[in-house]
Subunit: 322 residues, 2 copies
């Protein structure tokens, strides 16, 4: 087996990154990883040093590592966790309860402020229960879950007056989404995909500081920092198209190291350089947002209640939306 040496100190390396032609020992990997995070934050103009940052944490390696890096870098952070009420399939562990435990432990150890929203307590039903009534949602609650998470994330950011919400999306997540949007040339989605979304008409500013790290690089950070996190993927993600695209992209990366980052970077460069015409610009009347939801006051393209409030009220006729 070939031994690799640290790019910085020439001692034995613990991680090698073929796509960067780099290898590092533990100390210099952590240093590199932190510097690269800061670099992405600056490169994409995500948020300034003084920003009040809200970290969306799931209990997985990505979001907890992100919170850890930002905290170590001295950013003013607080976390929030959405308890989705996902219990796992038969014979499985309690996915949401376990991930909540990892998040609480992480915040306590570092004396960081954590906000928790329990979907069932707050809105009367868990994610699997909420999605049970939509035809597709019976087996795959992912669409409902996404809708609920986006709504709550935005609401918390607005309520707490944070400057930006950050999520732990890594390069593998980003390229899988990009790949899916490209395979179908979904123009609106391509125009929108970005490592940072500006605050816009009641939508909080959002950023993904880990967008240039592969999943493997983030996992190495979590491991070397001994961050305890939930290893299991959400039980509902099995067999998803995203996981399928990830496996295809891993194959390409294995045979052509650097493909993922090149795919993503050259896309962002093309997008920033104005290569895409926004399909929305031709139809200003259809552009977002049309109006505010009369119930939650968040922006919506629908007339009347937004998708989230419609979902909640249709299932809990007497439930007041907080």
């Amino acid at each position: 087996m070939t031994t690799f040496i640290c790019h910085t100190c020439r001692s034995k390396a613990v991680i090698r990154m073929r796509q960067h032609r780099l290898a590092f020992c533990k100390e210099h990997y952590l240093e590199w990883f932190t510097a690269q995070t800061e670099r992405s934050i600056q490169k994409y103009g995500m948020f300034p040093r003084t920003a009040r940052v809200l970290v969306a944490v799931s209990g997985g390696k990505d979001s907890l590592s992100l919170w850890d890096v930002l905290w170590r870098c001295g950013y003013e952070t607080e976390g929030f966790y959405i308890h989705l009420g996902i219990h796992g399939l038969e014979d499985e562990t309690d996915y949401s309860a376990q991930s909540a435990q990892y998040v609480r432990q992480f915040a306590q150890e570092r004396n960081l402020k954590l906000h928790v929203v329990d979907v069932k307590k707050e809105y009367g039903k868990s994610i699997p229960e909420l999605s049970r009534f939509s035809p597709k949602g019976k087996t795959k609650p992912c669409a409902t879950c996404g809708l609920v998470k986006r709504h709550i994330m935005n609401q918390i950011a607005l309520d707490l007056h944070n400057d930006v919400v950050v999520t732990g999306h890594n390069l593998d997540d980003e390229v899988a989404v990009l790949f899916g949007n490209t395979m179908n040339w979904q123009q609106e989605m391509l125009v929108r995909q970005s490592p940072v979304l500006a605050e816009y008409h009641g939508l909080a500013r959002k950023a993904k500081p880990f967008c240039r790290f592969t999943e493997r690089e983030v996992a190495a950070y979590a491991l070397l920092r001994q961050i305890a996190y939930i290893y299991e993927e959400c039980p509902f993600s099995r067999g998803s198209t995203t996981l399928y695209y990830k496996s295809i992209l891993n194959q390409i990366e294995d045979s052509h190291p650097g493909s993922k980052l090149r795919f993503y970077s050259s896309f962002l460069k093309a997008r920033e350089g104005g290569f895409f015409n926004s399909p929305e610009q031709d139809h200003p009347s259809q552009s977002f947002p049309a109006q505010l939801c009369p119930s939650c006051k968040q922006p919506t393209t629908r007339s009347g209640l937004c998708s989230f409030c419609s979902l909640i009220t249709s299932q809990n006729p007497r439930k007041k939306i907080p």
Copy 2:
């Protein structure tokens, strides 16, 4: 084994196309294939019924099948074959001589006019010889081969006053190129990729009537029509990125039938709808063509001799370019 029945006559099918949810017997497959070729010609405005069509033939299944369909449909066609002088690697058959033989046989059987350009006879050196002097060309003459073929193809079309040159590129070829251009977001290439290229400042009109057929569909046509063709791929194509992308796309197609056609069609739709800004439009001074080559009179972006004439004269200082 499941038996499939013909979509048209309900007899036993000989081919099933999952992505179209169609199966056909021999007779109705040939009928469908021919009608679909005509449909593509019309859909993309490739050429009118009365056009004088020059078919670029290589001796492979795609170009010979294309010539066969167009001939049967009553188009006025003539073919041209470029003898590249590729002899194959060790222990292999004479690739160019064999493919030339298939082309001649095809044209003779149908009493069709065939033009042959022998690169070595015409320009003093074969493709492997011409590419030997470029650093990359020693092992991979594909770039030189492409340059030479494009030049000769255009020259013949202009000399013979044909209305359009057609090539046998199939859907697999088109999506492999598209995939490569997308993985690196090569903007100029994405803007240009099209099933039809208009005549433009000394560049002949070009079209790809088989752009919506998979390789398998064309192979089935050749088989059912008993067209004799060269089975071997060019010996230099082994290990190429295009073949690698084809294998990846075949995997995706296997698990998600229709992916290739959806990827290609939605790309063309986005392109036609003006989704892409041409990177050239911002820099009219760099746009093509800048001038005509003083030697061959074909358009070129270079000042002085075009790439083709430079290649030929650098290797044959006293050779007159025809």
